[in-house]
């Protein structure tokens, strides 16, 4: 199939349909509006359901209902809207329901700005909502990868019965790049699962709930859930190493579209005779910490680059485990560190290595 030029937002919508998702609920917010706009047109064409909700709180509860009766379901929003969904996301995790949530991040905090940012890494990977749970969080760096990871999101959500977040930014959403849609082998309908509420005529009734008043039962539930998270970390953590084959003094860490700016910088630095490696987590939750550590320990010093105030920095420092210094360079508010900014920061990190600065 020939490649077609598509905006990230629209491509994610089409990828969801390819993955067998025929239900979408959402409330408008920039910079993800092209996604619901696209699905409002496409879903009725393929026998699906599109509903523009009255609020993000309603959205998250509609997802809960749809997933509970065993249909593949997705929503998308941007930073403040995701905050409003937080309670519902915790309920989804508590009731072990698969669903896919797209967050096209914008600048924060508060209502802040509508320009691209990576302002919700911490919210997505650590402080999403109340209770003992984690999301699976995938961070695409191109429109094609957004398509591939959308399809993967549905697979992982169902396989591990946990909500999955696709963490993009305004740039991924609004940018057009050539894409092709793989043929997806959609698994059996979720309705066939042994937990889905499909009407109990002729069988034992089932219950989908996140309410567990028995402390022993809830304790066991959460231990089981975190055992599952361990399996996810062992089997599903994904990352990319860039330019790491030749020896490097500086390792750049970056995720999402920021990693591509860093790749351009690395190419220019090559021309200056400086070899710099890069580590990019594709699953930012679970974070591929062992793989990150291995890349870090080949370097003398690390430079973390993000479109925020340093949110992934914590994961990088944990992976460095006190054995390497980690410098940070970031811009936020809708600004993106440029190729020139990254090159300058690499030089400053190199100077610290030379000067023996801790």
């Amino acid at each position: 199939m020939a490649k077609i030029l598509m905006k990230g937002n629209e491509a994610i919508g089409e990828a969801a349909i390819k993955a067998g998702c025929l239900h979408f609920f959402g409330y408008p917010i920039t910079p993800q509006n092209e996604l619901p706009e696209y699905l409002s047109k496409r879903l009725p064409q393929v026998g699906g359901k599109y509903i523009q909700t009255e609020s993000e709180v309603a959205t998250s509860n509609m997802i809960f209902g749809a997933a509970g009766v065993g249909v593949r379901v997705m929503t998308s929003s941007s930073s403040p809207g995701i905050s409003l969904m937080s309670e519902g996301l915790s309920y989804l995790a508590g009731a072990e329901l698969p669903a896919v949530i797209v967050n096209m991040m914008r600048a924060g905090p508060g209502l802040a700005g509508i320009l691209p940012a990576q302002s919700d890494y911490a919210h997505a990977t650590r402080g999403t909502a109340h209770g003992d749970f984690e999301l699976i969080v995938l961070a695409p760096s191109s429109v094609q990868e957004a398509v591939d990871l959308t399809i993967l999101s549905f697979e992982l959500a169902e396989k591990y019965r946990n909500p999955v977040m696709l963490l993009g930014d305004g740039m991924i959403g609004q940018m057009m790049e050539p894409v092709e849609f793989p043929d997806v082998e959609v698994g059996p309908p979720m309705k066939a699962a042994d937990w889905a509420l499909t009407g109990c005529k002729g069988r034992e009734p089932r219950l989908v709930s996140s309410l567990f008043l028995d402390p022993v039962e809830l304790n066991e539930k959460n231990h089981e859930r975190f055992a599952r998270y361990k399996v996810i970390k062992d089997n599903e953590a994904r990352h990319e190493l860039y330019n790491c084959d030749e020896p490097y003094d500086v390792l750049i860490t970056a995720f999402g579209v920021m990693s591509r700016v860093c790749k351009s910088a690395i190419q220019e630095l090559k021309g200056q005779g400086i070899n710099v490696g890069m580590f990019r987590p594709i699953t930012v939750k679970p974070f591929p910490s062992e793989q990150c550590s291995a890349a870090i320990f080949k370097s003398k010093r690390v430079l973390d680059v993000e479109m925020n105030m340093g949110q992934m920095l914590v994961d990088i420092q944990l992976a460095a485990n006190g054995k390497r210094e980690v410098d940070f360079m970031g811009k936020c508010g809708g600004l993106t560190p440029s190729i020139e900014d990254v090159i300058e920061s690499v030089h400053s990190t190199l100077a610290k290595i030379k000067g023996g600065v801790a």
């Binding site: 490649k3 077609i4 030029l5 920039t30 910079p31 700005g113 509508i114 320009l115 191109s142 740039m171 609004q174 940018m175 057009m176 790049e177 050539p178 579209v257 591509r260 700016v261 790749k263 351009s264 910088a265 190419q267 220019e268 090559k270 021309g271 200056q272 809708g334 993106t336 440029s338 190729i339 020139e340």
Partner: protein
């Protein structure tokens, strides 16, 4: 790996995003990789509207370019904002119908074309974007005239009555661009990404 990038800039409604999209589509047809990154938001409210098109023989690395190789500029505010950022040795193509001043950069090719007047001569000033796109392609020869016309015809199928105007605006721009290329001795090539301080354009 060969790469280059172009920034199309104007006001919202000038059609610079469309010009960039047509170029991107033509590049895909040639089997090249592209990214089309618009600047939106605050800039849509009365400011400049622009799009960066990155073109590469391999994967496009950064779609976000602060210092473009080429700038195709519709109006004065966009020239003031982006003109100084063009890389040394780069190209600045100016719509002199709207920009009534000269732009001082000794280290770039600064070329002027009354694209608005040309479009008006063809019957509609709204086709100025296609004149500028034509001129850029006439200058760069990054895609053949015939291939680009095919892309224009394909993208306007739902509004087919606009095809003749857009094709003729593109063709007129292409001829002007070809002339400018010869007059100014401009040799435009994709740059080699791995060379430092690379310049997409050099005097031939």
């Amino acid at each position: 790996m060969k790469t280059t990038d172009v920034l199309f800039a104007g006001f919202g409604g000038h059609g610079m995003l469309m010009a960039g999209k047509l170029l991107a589509m033509a590049m895909i047809k040639q089997g090249r990789q592209v990214s089309w990154l618009p600047a939106y938001g605050a800039e849509m409210r009365g400011g400049t509207a622009n799009v960066t098109v990155c073109i590469s023989d391999g994967d496009v690395m950064s779609p976000y370019i602060e210092r473009p190789n080429s700038l195709v500029v519709m109006n004065t505010p966009s020239l003031h904002k982006f003109g100084p950022k063009v890389k040394t040795g780069g190209l600045v193509l100016v719509n002199s119908t709207l920009v009534r001043e000269s732009f001082e950069r000794d280290d770039c090719h600064v070329l002027y074309l009354p694209a608005g007047d040309i479009a008006m001569g063809l019957g509609n000033v709204k086709a100025t974007n296609l004149v500028l796109l034509g001129a850029f392609i006439g200058l760069s020869k990054i895609v053949t005239k015939e291939d680009m016309i095919e892309v224009i015809q394909e993208s306007f199928t739902s509004k087919s009555k606009f095809i003749p105007l857009n094709v003729s605006a593109f063709a007129a721009g292409y001829e002007e661009g070809t002339k400018l290329r010869l007059e100014n001795d401009v040799e435009l090539e994709l740059e080699d990404e791995e060379r430092d301080s690379t310049y997409a354009y050099s005097n031939g």
